[in-house]
């Protein structure tokens, strides 16, 4: 549960100072002010503004002014004064709600911009003793640092311990442990800690005590599995490792599954996940070849388990296996059996919501019955219940589940979804807004030790800013579609204060400002969209038509200023970059090339992309658009993949219409060196061959490249 500590919004503080808050809200605000110096400082400032305004004397015009006026008129001088327009009414809304929703949808991919510290891998080394630990054992660590961390008085090893039943990792509030490593006088840093009795798997990284420099093994992290007395990794260790790796590295995750089926051939879990994962990772040919073998395995396991008393997890694995084959009859059988022994098991919930049939009301009823038992007031039940309620389209039920689940929400995104559901309706709007502001406050005050292992402190701060902006933008969007444009502008302004470059925010705010009739204010956001090299030109053109009083001169001047702002915001906090790693890449014919030699001095977006994992049509379309945007200019896109050349890959390239230089990164060496191991990443390299930015959004990478070009042009 996320702890609640909420400051009144800036808007509420304004309303308090203006005497416009109702009695209840005023009482709550005053109570908060009594104990919060930050907010009371804001209110003092506002009161001082009133006071300072009142203190001003009323100056009179100079005595000779009237004489000048009368003389000038007598001499025939006339002035044409501006007309005072009649009061305006708010014009109709400009866009249907669906359009604003579409704007928001693109924000879901708002990328975290990360900064590199050093490649990290290579020189450093971590030794764990014993290497094959049992749960509950004491672990001794010896770390030999690379250049970046050498010479520190002490180091900190941060680790995330996972138990057999830990949920799949999400970008959630972290629960990390740490071990301080002390120098031993021989170039090593040593320390020890005790594994918990329910230990299954851990990932680790080392950093200096300030958190400024980090060694995360080039993004791979170090890891540690729980073993049995026979020195074989426990099944729970392999399961947890798979859950961690499936979001990080496709080949690594497959290796874990392979190991699981070798070590535990009688467990359905490894086989079912291997089959499912083979399908998910776009290797249908491979899956088809093995399908007959899988069917045989499945029948054998069925026979063995039929009269036994398998655990809930074993039955859940059979459900997954039946679903992957697919075998509907077996799926129904094993799902029924699982439901009878563990009605709130994650697998039951997922099939109840997603696979129960065409009527989502069935799932909603099932989950409603679960909720009536207090034992099942859990996060998985909440997620399923809320999902089912949304699927029914029943607004009341959705709000009901949102209200139930908010106190249990275990990560920002789920909490945000729930709070937005409340904001969408008049009667629960205030509560939803409060919840989202609580989230923003929490992000602001999030302690440094909650950051993910692979984030140095600066990266975590950056991520925090992006997260805060995203939360506020989401709230602004919901307020806008709920017909509250003024409140929407306030939220979007607060997000804009974070000094990030956010075209989707500008688009949304432009609409809000136009809907309250302030075309002059809306122009600023138009100029930003106009200046953005990635924002679709056709959208800019259509927005232009909504600003009839803007002249060509206004547009040119506004765009120029917006470009300067964009350059500053996009490269805020950026260092001048670092050099390219000395890595060899390979063509389809096996010829090797140094990365640097492939750039030809051109600004480049390096697309590190494994289409087997991220090969959806959306991603392909985005890659094609990025190439189109850069076509004709100095910039280029190079595609680097860890996938070896194959007929399958060539046919993918042909069929998808991709026309990019393609190079193979054997052993993911480049990705490891860049600290982007296992992820889809875009690296921005300037014309001097310096790495300037790393992002997980391709459009953002293209924007960076174009902003670099604009920056150099302006400097020139």
């Amino acid at each position: 549960m996320i702890a609640i500590k909420r400051h009144p919004s800036w808007r509420d503080l304004n309303r308090l100072a203006d005497g416009e808050l109702d009695a209840e809200a005023r009482g709550a605000a005053l109570e908060h002010l009594a104990s919060c110096t930050r907010c009371s400082g804001h209110v003092s400032l506002l009161n001082d503004l009133h006071e300072a305004g009142r203190d001003m004397r009323h100056p009179s015009p100079p005595k000779d002014l009237l004489d000048d006026i009368l003389r000038d008129r007598a001499q025939g001088l006339r002035t044409i004064l501006p007309a005072v327009p009649p009061s305006q009414r708010p014009p109709r809304r400009l866009l249907p709600a669906a359009a604003a929703v579409a704007v928001m949808a693109s924000l879901a991919g708002l990328a975290t911009l990360t900064l590199t510290s050093e490649a990290g891998a290579g020189a450093s080394e971590l030794t764990v003793d014993p290497a094959l630990p049992l749960p509950g054992q004491e672990i001794r660590l010896a770390y030999r640092p690379g250049v970046e961390l050498a010479g520190e008085a002490a180091l900190r090893l941060r680790l995330r311990l996972r138990a057999p039943d830990s949920e799949p990792p999400r970008e959630t509030l972290g629960a990390y442990d740490e071990v301080i490593l002390q120098p031993d006088g021989n170039g090593l840093y040593v320390g020890s800690f005790q594994l918990p009795a329910d230990f299954a798997y851990a990932v680790m990284a080392v950093e200096d005590l300030s958190g400024a420099h980090l060694d995360d093994r080039g993004g791979r992290l170090w890891d540690l599995r729980a073993h049995g007395d026979d020195d074989v990794p426990l099944p729970s260790a392999l399961r947890q490792e798979f859950l961690v790796q499936q979001n990080r590295s496709w080949p690594e995750a497959r290796d874990v599954l392979h190991e699981m089926t070798l070590l535990y051939p009688d467990m359905a879990e490894g086989w079912s996940m291997q089959l499912t994962y083979g399908e998910d990772t776009r290797l249908p040919a491979e899956a088809a070849v093995n399908l007959a073998g899988h069917r045989e395995h499945f029948r054998r396991l069925e026979r063995e388990l039929e009269d036994a008393e398998p655990s809930a997890d074993e039955v859940a694995a059979m459900v997954r296996y039946a679903a992957a084959l697919p075998d509907q009859e077996a799926l129904d059988h094993w799902l029924g059996r699982l439901e009878s022994i563990a009605p709130a098991h994650r697998v039951v919930l997922s099939y109840r919501v997603a696979g129960v049939g065409p009527d989502p009301n069935d799932a909603a009823r099932y989950l409603e019955s679960l909720w009536s038992v207090e034992e099942y007031h859990t996060v998985p039940v909440c997620r399923a219940g809320y999902g089912a309620a949304v699927a029914t389209g029943d607004a009341f039920l959705t709000r009901e589940w949102a209200t139930r689940c908010l106190p249990l929400a275990d990560d920002h995104w789920f909490a945000l979804d729930l709070a937005l559901a409340l904001v969408a309706h008049d009667e629960t709007r205030e509560r939803g807004i409060r919840e989202i502001r609580t989230l923003v406050d929490h992000v602001s005050e999030r302690p440094a030790d909650e950051r993910p292992l692979h984030f140095a402190l600066d990266e975590a701060r950056w991520e925090s800013r992006v997260l805060k902006a995203t939360l506020r933008i989401a709230l602004g969007r919901q307020l806008l579609v709920s017909g509250e444009p003024v409140s929407a502008v306030f939220e979007l302004d607060a997000a804009d204060d974070l000094d990030l470059w956010l075209p989707d925010l500008y688009r949304m705010r432009l609409e809000a400002l136009l809907s309250i009739g302030d075309e002059r204010a809306a122009r600023l956001d138009f100029h930003r969209l106009d200046a953005d090299p990635v924002y679709p030109r056709e959208s800019v053109d259509s927005l232009r038509r909504l600003l009839p009083s803007m002249t060509r001169l206004d547009r040119a001047e506004g765009r120029r200023q917006a470009e300067s702002e964009m350059i500053r915001r996009v490269f805020l906090d950026q260092d001048p970059g670092r050099g390219l790693p000395p890595v060899q890449l390979f063509t389809s014919t096996g010829q090797s090339h140094a990365l640097e030699s492939l750039l030809y001095g051109r600004p480049t977006v390096l697309l590190i992309w494994d289409r087997r994992v991220f090969g959806s049509p959306d991603v392909v379309a985005e890659v094609i658009r990025a190439s189109d945007l850069l076509e004709g200019g100095p910039g280029q896109v190079l595609w680097v993949t860890p996938e070896p050349d194959s007929e399958s890959l060539q046919s993918f390239v042909r069929e998808s219409g991709l026309d990019l230089p393609l190079y193979h990164d054997q052993g993911s060496e480049l990705a490891i060196q860049l600290g982007d191991w296992g992820m889809r990443g875009y690296i921005v390299i300037d014309g001097a061959g310096r790495i300037r930015a790393r992002t997980h959004s391709l459009m953002e990478a293209v924007r960076h490249l174009e902003v670099l070009r604009l920056g150099s042009r302006n400097t020139a």
């Binding site: 503004l49 006071e51 100056p59 015009p61 009237l66 007598a74 501006p82 302004d493 400002l513 302030d518």
Partner: protein, 193 residues
């Protein structure tokens, strides 16, 4: 015969137009360019016009020019005035828009140091975070649009609706601009401390 009492709603206040407006004969003479009528209207309203112009432009020279332009053009402009509306707010609206036009077109900074311009008294409340001099300096950093709403709200004491009426924007837009102006002032004042 007594002239009928006309009522007009400005913001949430009902204004008795006949009590506040110059009499129709005076406005009629003003519209014909009568110098005495202009003098009479000037004596009644020049302080208001000059004060607003000074606060919006932050420059005594600009305030002088704005006031000059408003009254030189008033005999012609008054022909567009709707007698059903109160005259004072209408004239202040003209002054606000004239000052805004001047600010936008000239884009120039104030020419005379502030204390000499406004002749403001020194504040006694030493503990205040913001004194009027600091406020004046901070106002100078705002764009004309934002400066206008702060001046009209904090210095002229107008309601959101009255600000909206004067600037020809909606009440919502006035609220948004004021909110933005205060945020910006907060940033500026933090930077000054």
């Amino acid at each position: 015969m007594l002239s009928p009492i006309m009522h007009h709603r400005v913001g949430n206040r009902q204004v008795n137009v006949s009590e506040n407006n110059p009499n129709p004969t005076l406005l009629s003479r003003l519209g014909r360019g009568d110098a005495d009528a202009l003098r009479e209207v000037y004596e009644r309203y020049a302080d208001d016009v000059y004060r607003i112009a000074l606060r919006l432009t932050g420059s005594s020279a600009d305030a002088y020019d704005v006031t000059h332009d408003v009254f030189v053009g008033l005999p012609e402009a008054v022909q567009r005035y709707d007698p059903d509306r109160p005259f004072g707010p209408w004239l202040r609206g003209v002054a606000v828009r004239t000052a805004q036009m001047r600010l936008r077109s000239a884009r120039r900074r104030r020419e005379v140091a502030l204390p000499n311009v406004t002749g403001l008294a020194v504040r006694s409340r030493q503990e205040a975070v913001v004194d009027r001099l600091t406020l004046e300096k901070a106002l100078d950093e705002l764009s004309p649009d934002l400066r206008s709403v702060v001046v009209l709200r904090e210095l002229e004491g107008l309601s959101y609706q009255e600000i909206a009426d004067l600037l020809g924007i909606t009440k919502s837009a006035a609220a948004v601009r004021l909110h933005r102006a205060r945020r910006r002032l907060k940033e500026i004042l933090r930077g000054n401390r």
